[in-house]
Amino acid sequence: MIERSPIFNIVTYATMILGLLLVLTPFWIVIVAGSLSLQEVSQVPLKLWPSNHLLENLEVAWTRADLGPKMINSLIVAVGVTVGKITLAALSAFSIVFFNYRARMLCFWLIFITLMLPLEVRIVPTYSIAANALQPFQVILDTLGITWLVETVSGVRVGLEWNLLNSYTGLILPLVATATGTFLYRQFFMTIPDELVEASKMDGSGPLRFFFEVLLPLSRTNMLALATIMFVSSWNQYLWPLLITTDRANFGTVVMQLKALIPAQNGTPDWNVTMAGALIIMLPPLLVVALMQRWFVRGLISRDK
């Protein structure tokens, strides 16, 4: 700190407090509204101080949106996606950074370009692939004439089918491929000094040993950062689960339930319950971010595009 100018300090604090209000107001309103009774929440103007109905509203929201099982689903999906992404990203980045094969940059770009094909824009065809994840292979077999060959020879028709709709696999697998993660890991791996690789070579360890005994322990911070990001983003997935779970009762996630909590679908405008529900749904990723903040920020910083 160079200037001791008190005026500028006041400006600084004022701005930050303003920012704090800006950021916190929505949270505050959710909490306040979530704690009001139906009458109170319908009052205009809205009370700005919490009342004491939070617990009962939480309970109503919990049962109305069936949040118990949905929470578990969300958790399974978020953890599954997070673990999957981290694993795949680490393995791919390891392959790309530490091996010298011709196609490595091609592979990297193949993965990286998917950053530009967000789920939202390829949602229609992606849905159909989720219905049968083996469809591409079937088409390949068909076009190569292998299906025909097998059928004429053995009489058995090769029908590859792997349906992912209404399944955890379907909720998780398509989200596991990760350009961001791979990129992040790649960036991190590139900062590993050559000498460390060479030292381990001199010490006689092979690539897998190096990966498990040196690389992974070293990338712990990055892994935590990545895990935070991935957890948040997969918990917050909306469109994908919306599409591929027709069986909401069993495979719905909490975020999908938000719409079910909005009044007007159930009659009375009980925004208090809606807000209580929103609170429940927001909380897990918020906790993760708050708890992992240190790593999370560090990880993002090291990304530095």
Binding site: A131, N163, N166, R248, A264, Q265, N266, P269, W271
Partner: protein, 421 residues
């Protein structure tokens, strides 16, 4: 035990009733287990069913509303219900089904393709306390009356005389067109072939929309919708709005939810004075049996259809919801029982009256338009544009018509070479 799925497009109270029904079915026999899944609304159910069908994950039975009928008819994805029942050894008296239902869900030769299930028509709900307060007794029968009452209510300090929902094109447009015998589309509302063109930008609906606009601007119509956070039904049951139009299916809900001490009644949709009232359109949905399932599942589906067709079951369904009995005999039985003469069910017979007011004309037997959901959306948008954005009525409807025709042409092209059954 064979398990099979049934996807439906109802939510809230109606959904709970369906779940009751499914439980009863499962309890009534030991061979099949029906799994009933709500998809929230008719559109979503149609969309999800299509998506699932493409993925070979379709349910055995799907509840498809009136608007989706053509989409199903041309899909090649269904098993005609008559064939299904025959093959599984059920003998159903198809002639007993209410003619309006048949004209909507059957082929041109009258063969029912889907199992009639929950059928309805649009009604006009009004708060008798409020109407009395401004000196109106009885049921509003004409829009002139409605306008006057609305003015009086407004003058008397009621904020919301009439609840209007622009997404309620079914009651405000389709049913209006029917009872005023206005064409929705050429080719007899599309019955004559896929090359039909919409006609709603000509005729009485143009003026009607103009009237909506006037009422809205004067604050006599107040928009109540999901988007405003207060639906028309909610506003009505909470006495925030004094008149409202919606399906007879909601009769049960309104009865249950109306605030303590509030008095209300239901009437047929009003007409303009001097209009010869025509029968209204059948609404609601029918149950379609989808292809690609096992014989066992079809057996189950047939058993389920037979179950809901049982008179006592049909009566229960009509009682707890507001849906009309779909067979003539069912209706007669209920009338005979005096069901309709007492509160809380009194008034529901008006739905039947409305549906059968006249024999169906070319424009009141139903609507046969492909991707009708998209056309409905155009009307919703046109109504909103007129009300909210002050777009001139004719321009809004012309615009909607152009787009609707594009939808129809695309549908025609997609199914080039196919004809309506």
């Amino acid at each position: 035990q064979t398990k099979f799925e049934f996807w439906y497009g109802l939510s809230g109270d109606l959904s709970d009733r369906i779940q009751d029904m499914c439980k009863d079915f499962n309890a009534s026999q030991a061979d099949y287990e029906i799994v009933c899944v709500s998809q929230d609304n008719y559109e979503a159910n149609l969309q999800n069913t299509i998506a699932a069908f493409r993925a070979n994950k379709q349910p055995t039975i799907a509840q498809i509303s009136d608007g989706g009928t053509v989409d199903l008819m041309l899909s090649g994805a269904y098993l005609p219900v008559r064939q299904l029942m025959e093959e599984n050894g059920y003998d159903i008296n198809w002639e007993d089904y209410f003619s309006g239902v048949a004209s909507y869900f059957a082929t041109s030769t009258g063969e029912l393709l889907a199992m009639p299930f929950n059928n309805s028509t649009a009604m006009f709900y009004y708060n008798t306390d409020a109407l009395k307060a401004v000196g109106f007794e009885g049921a509003p029968e004409t829009w002139e009356q409605v306008e006057k009452i609305a003015r009086d209510l407004k003058a008397a300090g009621y904020d919301c005389p009439v609840a209007f929902d622009p997404t309620g094109q079914w009651q405000w447009w389709e049913q209006f067109s029917a009872i005023h015998n206005q064409p929705i589309a050429s080719n007899g509302n599309g019955y004559g072939g896929l090359d039909a063109e919409v006609l709603f930008n000509q005729g009485k609906f143009v003026d009607q929309l103009g009237w909506f606009k006037k009422m809205y601007d004067e604050g006599l119509f107040v928009v109540k919708s999901k988007a405003t956070g207060d639906t028309a039904n909610d506003a009505f049951v909470n006495a925030r709005c004094q008149m409202s139009s919606s399906s007879v299916a909601d009769h049960g809900f309104i009865g249950k939810q109306a605030v303590e001490g509030m008095h209300w009644d239901v009437a047929m949709l009003p007409v303009w004075e001097g209009t010869e009232r025509q029968n209204s359109l059948v609404g609601g949905a029918a149950l379609w049996t989808l292809k690609g399932k096992s014989a066992e599942e079809y057996k189950g589906a047939a058993a389920f259809y037979a179950f809901i067709a049982k008179p006592e079951q049909a009566e229960w369904w009509s009682t707890v919801t507001g849906y009309i009995p779909v067979t003539n005999s069912g209706y007669d039985a209920m009338v005979a029982k005096g069901f309709y003469s007492e509160a809380p069910y009194k008034g529901r017979e008006l739905a039947l009256k409305s549906l059968t007011f006249t024999p169906p004309s070319e424009y009141t037997r139903g609507v046969r338009l492909g991707n009708f959901g998209a056309v409905r959306k155009e009307i919703q948008d046109a109504m909103s544009a007129v009300l909210f954005n002050n777009v001139p009525v004719q321009q809004a409807l012309d615009d909607a018509a152009t787009r609707s025709n594009e939808v129809l042409r695309k549908f025609e092209a997609t199914y080039a070479g196919k004809t309506l059954p």
